[in-house]
Amino acid sequence: VSSAVNIPNLVDHFFRHESGRLMAVLTRVFGLHNLELVEDVVQSALLQALESWKFQGVPADPAAWVYRVARNKALDVIRHQAVADKSAPEWLSLHRTTDAIPMDQLFLSSEIADSQLRMMFVCCHPDLPEESQIALTLKTLCGFGVEEIARALLTTDANVKKRITRAKRKFLEQPIEFEVPAGEALKSRLDSVHTVIYLLFNEGYSSSHPHELIRRDLCAEAIRLGLLLHDHPACRNEDTSALLALMLFHAARFDARLDAEGGILLLQEQDRTKWDQELIARGTYYLSESAAGEQITRYQLEAAIAAQHSLAPSFDSTDWQTLLMLYDHLIQMYPSPIYELNHAIVIAMTAGPDAGIDAINAIKELDTLQDYHLLHATLGEFHLQAGRLEKAQACFARAINCTSSHSEKNLLERKLSATRRFV
C-alpha cells in the first residue's frame, strides 16, 4: 500500500517552464513566422498532459512525457503539410533528409538550452519596441499567460496582446534569424538581452508593485534567464556576471523587506539575519567573476553597490566612503537623476542631511523627478534629520501624493506621524 501512496510531484512552475522550453524548441522546428502555430502545438501538448495526469497521476518523468507528446504533435503538423508552403529553409532541411531523428535531438537538454537562448535573442531583438520585448519574453520564454503579463506589468490584457501582436507582425514582415548572433553583432545584441533581464527584475523588485507573489515570480524569472545566458560561454561576458550578481544581492533581501503585516521595511530597519546568505555568496562569486574583465560597466558598479550593502554586518558598519566612490564613478559614466538621488543619500550619510539636500538641489535634471515619490521622501527624511519638522511633513505629504502603492503610502504615513510626534 505504501508504494501506491508515493505520488511523483511536479516541480514549481513546471507547466510554465516547460511551456518556455517547448516554445523555443518548436520555434526552431517551424520558424519564427509560425509562432502562432507553435503556441497552439505547445498549448495542446500541455493540455494533454493536464487532462491525462488529472486521471492517471503524474508520470515518473513528466518532462519527458510532455516532450514526447509535443514531438508527436509537431510531426503530425509536418505530416499534414499544413505549413509546408510557408516553411523556413531550416525547417525544410531538418525534415527533408530524415524523419524523426533531428527532431528528437532538439529535445536533448543541451539543445533545449540552445533553443531558449536563440529565443532570448529574438525576444530582445532591437527592432522590437522595448515593451514588446518584455511582454514577448514573459510570454514565450517564461510561459506567462496574457492576463498574468498584464498583472505583472500593471497594464491591461488588451495592451499586452497589442505588444505581442506587434512583435509577431515584425517576425512576418522581416526575416529575423532564430539564432544566437555571432561576432561583432553579439556584443550589442547581448546588451539588449541584459537590458530586458534588468527591466524584468526591476519590475519585480519595485516596491510599488502591489502583488508580492508576482514580484517574486518576476525576479525569479529574471534570474533564471540570467543563469541560462551565463551557461553559454559566448554569452558570459562581464555584464552577464555582474547582472546576475546584482540580482542575487537584491533577491537575498526579499524576505527581510517586509514586516509581518506586509509593510515596507527600510534598509536600516531590516533584520539582516533574514538576508539569504547563500544568495549573497553566489552574488559575490559572480561579481568577482565579472571583475576579471578590463573595463568597468554600469552593471558592475550597481552590483558593487548592492554588494556593499549586502556584506555589511549592520547598517552602522556600512562602508559609506566606498559607496560614495562607486556612485561617483557611476554618475560620471552614466549620468542619471536616479543615480544622483541615491548618491545624495550616501552623501547625507557621510556629511549630514544638509549636504544631502545640497546634493539633491545640484541634480542636473531634478525637474524630471518632481513626480517621483522617493525624491520627496528623501527630502523629507533629510529635513527630519535636520530638525525642520514642518518642511519634513510637507515633503512626506507630497511623497504620499506621488505614489499609488498602498504599502508605500503606509510607509510614508508612518514617517509623517513620526514627525508629528516631535511637534
Binding site: V5, S52, F55, V58, G145
Partner: protein
Amino acid sequence: MSKFIYVFRGGRDPQASPERMQAQMQKWMDWIGRLKQQGRYVAGEPLQPGGKVVNTAKKIITDGPFAEGKEIVAGFFIIEAETLDEATAMSKDCPIFESGGSVEIRAIQVINP
C-alpha cells in the same frame, strides 16, 4: 468495500495559462493523494476528446453528443467505498467542480455466479 466508478464530465479550459494548469494539476494531485492515502483510489484513465456514437435502430453513426464541452466525458476513476453514499461524499472535494465540470458516480455491478 465495493468498487465505484467516477465519470468526469467537462471541466476543460483550452485557454488556461500554464500557471493555471499547474494550479489545477496541484489540486488533482492533492485529491488523488488523499484518496490513495485512504486506500480508496484503484485506477484512473483519461479519455480522448473525440468519439463516435452508433445508433443501431437508425443505423446512424455520429460524432456523438460530444460537441458541448461540458458534456464531454474527460476520464474516469475506479475507487473503493463502503456505500454509494460514501462514494458520493468522497467526490465532493473533486477539483472538477471548480472548473464547471461534473462527476457521475456509479456502483460497479458485481455478479456472483
